[in-house]
Structures are given as structure tokens and as C-alpha cells.
């Protein structure tokens, strides 16, 4: 490459392009304004010069002949595929006028703003929705079943989220003197080589394996990790909760837990009333006592003592709380009740899961459960890295509570090489994410009251500031309690990707008065819009990334057509909908977001990235001991009691089971024996491909050539019994519907299960209805229903279903 006119722009990946949650450092080679190559930035602490196939295909992506480069207005019927190019001014005017009309007639909540997975879209879609006045920002996956439920569940227990420690908090990474290599990592439902970008750089675990980390793989499939693991537990999909309870059973009954941690930092000593099964509060013990305070049994004074939640300390001096035992206590109202410690009731629950029972539920041999539990508990430090299967069951919260208890009681929380509390770098938060309030907010708490599901589900008022998608879909049809009239769809493909029962989503979108889609390419979902706006890739914009560490900027390298960055599109409209918007331009907004770092956006851009220093609440380790987690700087956690809540006071408040436990998912051989006779294979969906991000990239030639067809993995013996050969097209069918996939015959899946790829549509097929880019041919979500979310509105059965499989007949094949 001739050096003349060649510019190298250092930037950060996030969203459009590789599609992922990003954070990789990239060098964009630009010649005469045109991108000629991307390379990994060797100086970047996140990826150290490495880069994935999707990012390396950026030249084919940004200059793709089908890239949307002008705003489009629908001129035919919805879905007819007839479009007219319009200018940005025309597009903004049209949207302003149509959306103002809906706002005037039906109120701002009548427009739903829907986005795909997080990335560099959450902040900007909130900016627009909130300026318009709608609280209904939505992630349309049933039960919001991707990551948010896990984050909410962990924060319910421990007040802050935490993740695998791969030294990502330090510029020197593994060489930082404070860091320790985990002796063991449980890779729980995560095929990291392929799904790497979903919350950490997956190949860090491979770096650690080279440095000696041993792997416990929990996965029904023989994943890459499973085939190299010290222990591989091939569990029946959806039984993760039972397995976690089994681990707790082994670890507690064999005394392999950290007793000091349990006594000092958890609510193990708090007392639970045997009559009501609820936590005993100070207000019940003494007149005028606070309902926010809890009660323990002081073994020194042989009487109750009070845990003052606000002061994160006992009210009495030198309390020696009982951890085990049953006591009789006189209450303020003159009655006497029997109470037990939280630890006693927690142990009783755990003892409901002897290894034999767990083995029967999970189909994992008893010996493997015991050995894996011991290996994890005895390794110091040890870490757990989990994936989306945890979210993909209606009982996500109790499952995640059990797994959270594992890293807590083994003393691995916020320790080097354990599970480390993950805060936004410098606590710089752009918008309301689980557990955080950002710079971009709804104008009033009042406006939030109309958010769909907020009145029904506890976690949606405490951690997750989104509309509940299962209720939202129903509301579009019922118009109760208020009608939905418009939808803003950005970085989201509900018809081909994120939507379960996607025909119903298509029907819902078509029912609305006005729909805007913002994307880089036409998709089955944009086809149903009235206006389509061309968005920019990460190489075509300036931006900020603060999820989690380091804090970084995204730096514009090129311009393509008339494409605009999401932030610019939304900012322009936000100004129109809210004349009082307090930022003059996006750079003022960026400055405010990065302000906690002490840098301006421009300074951060020059610096590239910034790590919070030691002693900052967003930098590890042992923050709960140092008083770095709570706003009042007292040691402890940001939970209602200030302690790790093994027994959750929030869940109790929400009328839900406070303790971790297992619930059988709704569509399994166990819960549906009759259906199982007709559909005798377990269907798991969401097989990851290293060259695709969900429904994206099927149009990128380099990538499509590597993984050309939608596949379903089937075991050789099962395939033989069904007379299916490798590479043959098969129907995968259940009570919801069917789709065609290509059989990949492989021993990687168990005999009793098939694993289907998700997110498939065919950009090369006709875009107009009825084809919609062939989306009804192979979209596996047609076999999955909406409306089976968990009791707390979170989680959905997506990886634990039933199906049958049969060959596509020759006539159909030729059709």
C-alpha cells in the first residue's frame, strides 16, 4: 500500500459493522476518504491487535452495493417494497409531523421505541424516546431474555453486577501485579469462540487457559470448551438451576465454603419467621422500629439484636450473631414466634437438592456434579463465566440467585481472578441501564408510570427501565390499557431475529399507524416501515463507550453516502420533539457523559482510552470492604440490607420466592410428557456462528461463504434413525410451526437434542411480501411462542423446547 494520502484512524468497535458489543481497538486505513483496510490495534489493551472475522470484513460491509444510503419513504402498500428516495429534511419533517400527531391524539406512550441488543444504540434511542416523552423503550425479546435478567438477578442479591476477571480493568492486563490467574473457570452455557463479543472478549479465556486455568464446561453440546475441559457437564437444557443447587449442596455439606465471608458479608444471620416464612423486621420486634432493619439472634447476650440497614451495622455492641439455629422471640404485639436464620432456611432449600435428585433432573451423572463442585470450590481463585442460556428460562432469577450464591459463598466476589464487580468506567453512564441512572433520563417519574409492565413486575421498577415485550405485543392488539400507534425500530430486526412468534410481530407492526426503521440494510423488518433511515457503521461516527472498562471514544474515519450516525439522527429529532433539550449538539452530550472521568470528549478522543485508577469505585478489588460500593462510603453492598442477600428481601417484597431454587421450564419432556410423545427431540435454538452476529451479516460475501446455510445440528445416530443425511434439508416442526434447516450431522449434540441456528433470512431473495427476504423459510423463532415469560417478567423458554424433524420431500425441494 502506497503511504501517500493514507490515513490511519484509531477507533473503537461498537455495534453496526461487527454488530457486537465490541470495545476492540481498530486501526482504520483510509485512502482518499475511502476505507481500504481495518486492522486490530496492537496497542489496545482489550484485543491486543487481534480482530474477528466480522470486523475484518468491514470493507465489504461499508461499501456493500445494497447499503442504504438515502432516506426512503414508502410509496406502495406496507411490505410491497416500493420506496421513494427523499432528503433528510423531508424525512425529519415527515417523522416530526406524523409522530406529533400521535402524541397529540394518544399521548407519547403510544409510540414504542424498540432496539436490538444494547450496543451503541441504547443511549440514543432513550434520548429520542424521552425527548418525545415515551417511557416505552423496548428490547423485544420475550422476557427481555438476554443479559438484563441476569444483571437484575445479581443486583437483587449483591447490589452490583460482576463478571469474569480477565484483568480487563488494568492497562497492563495479565501482568498487573494485583491480578491473579483463575485456577478454574466454569464456562456455563457459553460457546465463547463463536459468541465472543457478547460481554467480554471470549478469547481472554483462551489466554488464561494457556496460563494454566482449568475449565469446567456446562453445556449440553460438546462445545470447544467442553472438548478441552477438565470436567464437561452435558446437562439437559434449562436445568441449570437444579445443577447450581446441586453444586451448593455439595459445597455447603462438605464445608467447602468461606464461613467468614458468609457470616460477615451476607444476611445469613438474619431471622426468618417460621409462621409467615418472611424476614423478621425491627418494626415487628419493637414499637417504632424500622421495617428496613432486620433482626439476628445474638449468641453473646442470648437475645435478639438489630441489624441497622442504613448504618450497615448492628445497633448493639459486640453482637455475635447465630448463623444456624431456631429461636423463640417475643414480638412488639405481645405474640411469640419461632424464627430461624437465613442460613438455616437457605440450607434447607439447598438440601432439597441432593445430588441424586439433581442428576435425575439434569441428566448429568452424580459423580460429575460432585467432582465439578469440588474442583470449583477448592480452586482459589475461581471464576464463573455464564451465557445467555441462563436468561432463556422463565425461572432465570432463582437460577441466577443460585449461581450468584456460588461465587459469594466460596469467597470469589471482587477478588483477583474471581468474579469482579463490573461498573461503568468512572461511573460514567449515558443512560438508564440495569442498576444505574444515566445522563439521559425521562423528564419525570410520572411519565415512567405508563411504561408497559412497570405496574406488574418488580424488577422493571428497580433495575430494568424497559417496556416488557410480551405485554407490549399483546397491547398492540388489545389496545389495553392504552393504544399503541407507532413504532420506532432502530438497530433491531424483530421479524427475522429477536422476535419470537415472528409472524405475530409482523402482524403487529403492520397494525400500527406509523413506523420508522433505522438500519444499514433493508431487512424483513424495515420492509414493513413507512420511513427507513440509513444509519452509519462504527467507522462513520463519533461516539462514547463506557460499558464497562475502559472508557473510550469511537472516532469517525469515513463517510458513506448520506448515512448518518444513530446519535445524530436521534439528536435532530429529539431537538424537534423537545425544544428544551439541554444539549446544543452531540458533543455537549458526549462531554457530559464522560465528565466523571475528568476529561472532555475531545481529550478522551486524543487519549484513546482511560482506565479508572485504583481506589475509584469502578476499579477492583475488595470494594465492599473498602466502602467503595455504597454512596455513603460504608463497607457493604448496595442492597436493601447492605449485605449479600442470600435470602432476597426484594423478592419477598415483590411477592416472589426469596430463595434460589429450580423450576422446570414449560416445554420439556418432563413438563409436557404428552407433547413429548409427538415431538420427541429437545429443541435448543441460538446456535452461534463466529461469522454472524444474530440476524446480521448474511449479505457479506466473505462471511456468508464460510457459513452459507441455516443449520440444525443432529447426532449421527438420531439422523440415521430418521434417514437424514448430512447436508440434507429438513423440516423442524412443533405445535407452533415449522421451518426448513440444513442437517449438520455431528456428534457435537447429544442424541436426544437438536441445536438450530437463529436469525436466518436471505438478503438475496425478494424483499417484498410475501417473501420478506425468505424470512418464513428458515426462521426458527416460528417454533417459539411469546408470553411464557417468568413470574417477574423476565426470562423465556428459548433453548429448552420440543420438536420433531423430518426430511423435506423432493417435491418440496424443487418447489
Amino acid at each position: 500500500m502506497k503511504e501517500e494520502n493514507l490515513k490511519i484512524i484509531r477507533t473503537t468497535t461498537w455495534s453496526a459493522g461487527p454488530g457486537c458489543h465490541g470495545t476492540c481497538g481498530v486501526l482504520a486505513y483510509v485512502k482518499d476518504g475511502k476505507l481500504v483496510k481495518v486492522e486490530g490495534d496492537p496497542d489496545h489493551p482489550w484485543n491486543q491487535g487481534r480482530l474477528c472475522s466480522r470486523c475484518l470484513a468491514m470493507t465489504q460491509y461499508v461499501y456493500h452495493p445494497n447499503r442504504l444510503t438515502h432516506p426512503l419513504k414508502r410509496v406502495g402498500k406496507r411490505g410491497e417494497g416500493k420506496w421513494q428516495e427523499i432528503s433528510w429534511d423531508e424525512a425529519f419533517d415527515l417523522i416530526e409531523q406524523r409522530m406529533n400527531k400521535i402524541r397529540e391524539e394518544f399521548g407519547p406512550e403510544s409510540v414504542i421505541f424498540t432496539m436490538g441488543t444494547g450496543r451503541d444504540i441504547g443511549a440514543w434511542i432513550c434520548l429520542l424516546a424521552y425527548a418525545y416523552g415515551s417511557p416505552n423503550v423496548m428490547f423485544p425479546l420475550s422476557g427481555i431474555a438476554c443479559y438484563s435478567p441476569r444483571i437484575a438477578a445479581v443486583e437483587t442479591v449483591q447490589g452490583d453486577y460482576c463478571i469474569l476477571d480477565a484483568a480487563q480493568w488494568f492497562p497492563k492486563r495479565y501482568d498487573d501485579p494485583n491480578y491473579k490467574i483463575p485456577e478454574c473457570i466454569i464456562v456455563w452455557g457459553y460457546n465463547i469462540p463463536a459468541s465472543c463479543p457478547d460481554n467480554v472478549f471470549g478469547h481472554w479465556i483462551i489466554d488464561l487457559m494457556k496460563k494454566g486455568t482449568r475449565i469446567i464446561a456446562i453445556d449440553p453440546r460438546l462445545s470447544w470448551f467442553a472438548s478441552r475441559a477438565e470436567k464437561w457437564l452435558s446437562l439437559r437444557p434449562g436445568t441449570d438451576g437444579a445443577l447450581a443447587m446441586g453444586f451448593l449442596n455439595v459445597i455447603i455439606n462438605e464445608g467447602l465454603y468461606d464461613k467468614d465471608f458468609v457470616e460477615k458479608w451476607t444476611n445469613a444471620p438474619h431471622l426468618v419467621r417460621s409462621d409467615t416464612g418472611q424476614l423478621l423486621r425491627e418494626s415487628e420486634l419493637v414499637k417504632g422500629g424500622s421495617p428496613a432493619n432486620f433482626v439476628v439472634w445474638d449468641t453473646a447476650s442470648k437475645q435478639p439484636a438489630v441489624w441497622d440497614s442504613q448504618n450497615v451495622a448492628y445497633k448493639q455492641n459486640d453482637v455475635k450473631p447465630a448463623i444456624e439455629g431456631e429461636f423463640r422471640i417475643s414480638l412488639a404485639n405481645g405474640t411469640t414466634v419461632t424464627v430461624k436464620t437465613v442460613w438455616a432456611v437457605f440450607r434447607e432449600e439447598v438440601n432439597n437438592y441432593p445430588v441424586k435428585r439433581v442428576s435425575e433432573i439434569s441428566w448429568v451423572p452424580e459423580k460429575d456434579i460432585i467432582e465439578a463442585a469440588r474442583l470449583y470450590a477448592k480452586s482459589k481463585p475461581a471464576s464463573i463465566h455464564w451465557g445467555v442460556p441462563i436468561d432463556m428460562t422463565p425461572a432465570i432469577t432463582p437460577t441466577a440467585q443460585a449461581i450468584t450464591a456460588l461465587w459469594c459463598i466460596t469467597g470469589n466476589l471482587d477478588t483477583p481472578g474471581g468474579n469482579v464487580i463490573s461498573r461503568y468506567a468512572f461511573d460514567a453512564v449515558a443512560y438508564a441501564l440495569p442498576g444505574a441512572e444515566g445522563v439521559i433520563r425521562l423528564k419525570s417519574k410520572e411519565a415512567d408510570k405508563k411504561r408497559i409492565g412497570a405496574d406488574r413486575y418488580g424488577p422493571l421498577n428497580k433495575f430494568i427501565w424497559r417496556a416488557q415485550p410480551d405485554l407490549a405485543l399483546e397491547q398492540i392488539f388489545t389496545e389495553k390499557p392504552y393504544p399503541i400507534k407507532g413504532m420506532w425500530i432502530q438497530a433491531c430486526n424483530p421479524v427475522a431475529g429477536i422476535g419470537l412468534d415472528p409472524k405475530r410481530w409482523a402482524e403487529a407492526i403492520k397494525k400500527l399507524d406509523f413506523v420508522v426503521a433505522v438500519d444499514l440494510f433493508m431487512t424483513p423488518s424495515t420492509q414493513l416501515a413507512d420511513v427507513v433511515l440509513p444509519a452509519a457503521s462504527f467507522l462513520e461516527k463519533d461516539g462514547v463507550k463506557s460499558w464497562w472498562i475502559p472508557l473510550q471514544t469511537i472516532n469517525k474515519a469515513i463517510t458513506v453516502g448520506e448515512c448518518k450516525p444513530d446519535v445524530e439522527i436521534n439528536f435532530e429529532l429529539a431537538k424537534r420533539f423537545d425544544p428544551d433539550l439541554r444539549w446544543k449538539n452531540i458533543y455537549e452530550l458526549f462531554d457530559e457523559i464522560v465528565k466523571p472521568s475528568g476529561l472532555t470528549f475531545k481529550q478522551l478522543q486524543e487519549k484513546g482510552w482511560a482506565f479508572p485508577p485504583q481506589g475509584h469505585p469502578s476499579a477492583p478489588y475488595h470494594r465492599f470492604e473498602k466502602g467503595l460500593l455504597r454512596p455513603d462510603k460504608k463497607p457493604g453492598f448496595q442492597t436493601p440490607s447492605g449485605r449479600i442477600e442470600l435470602y432476597s428481601s426484594l423478592r419477598e417484597e415483590w411477592g416472589l420466592e426469596p430463595l434460589p431454587h429450580y423450576e422446570e421450564p414449560p416445554f420439556t419432556p418432563v413438563s409436557q410428557p404428552e407433547l413429548f410423545k409427538k415431538y420427541p427431540l429437545i429443541l435448543s435454538t441460538g446456535r452461534r456462528s463466529p461469522v454472524y452476529f444474530h440476524s446480521e451479516h448474511r449479505n457479506i460475501p466473505w462471511l456468508r461463504k464460510i457459513d452459507p446455510d441455516p443449520v440444525v445440528e443432529i447426532h449421527p445416530e438420531t439422523a440415521r434413525s430418521l434417514h437424514i443425511d448430512d447436508g440434507e434439508w429438513v423440516w423442524v416442526e412443533n405445535w407452533m410451526g415449522r421451518c426448513q434447516l440444513k442437517a449438520k450431522v455431528t456428534p457435537v449434540v447429544p442424541r436426544w437434542m437438536v441445536m438450530a441456528a437463529h436469525g436466518w433470512w436471505f438478503p438475496e431473495k425478494p424483499g417484498e411480501e410475501p417473501s420478506l427476504f425468505g424470512v418464513w423459510e428458515s426462521n426458527i423463532n416460528q417454533l417459539i411462542s411469546m408470553g411464557a415469560q417468568g413470574k417477574d417478567g423476565l426470562g423465556a423458554p428459548i433453548k429448552n423446547l420440543l420438536c420433531k424433524i423430518y426430511k423435506v420431500s423432493e417435491e418440496e425441494d424443487n418447489a
Binding site: 483496510k37 486492522e39 475484518l56 472438548s227
Partner: protein, 113 residues
Amino acid sequence: MPEKTRYGLLIDYEYCTGCYACQVACAQEYGWPAGMSGMKVIEVVQELPNDKAYLAYLPFPTELCTLCAGRTKKGLEPACVKHCMAACMKYGKVEELAQEMGKKPRMALWAPR
């Protein structure tokens, strides 16, 4: 006449995850159309006793591999080696790589040119 120094690629296939970064990195570097690349990742699933199997991937240098002569002359790593997500590829003199190969199992040494 001393023999020409031969260069090669050492692959630690214990750690190759089948991410295809090498294959696409090469296509990008040389502008190959889809389906052509100097690297091709091969999947090997070997069934083992007791219902186990070993899932392996191996990057194979094709006829299009030039060992990135242009890049290495400038002191840069070949495009595939540079971007390898698992950092399991190494470029160097065949003799030196062969030495290194002796240090651990599950290694392959390619000398494509």
C-alpha cells in the same frame, strides 16, 4: 550454495477455536473474492470412546498463501498471524519453529512456500 532459508507457520491447534479471523484477514489483505483465501480453516470432529469427542480446528495455508512476503519484509506479521483471536499462529524460520514445536503437543508446522 547455502540453501534458501525457508519460512513457515507454526499452529498450536490445541487453541485454534475456528473463529475464521485468519481466513477473512487474508481475503481482506489481498482482496480475494469470497471463497478464495490463503488460509482455510478445517473442522475436525473426532469421536472418542465413552461418547466423548474432540473438536478441533486447523488453519490450512492454501495455494494462495504467500506467507505475506510484502508484510514480513516490512517487519510486520502475516495478516492471519496478526489477527488470530486465539494467538495460536506464529510466523518464523522453519528451523526455529521446529524447535518450538517440540515443546508441546498438538502442533502443526506448515511450510507452504
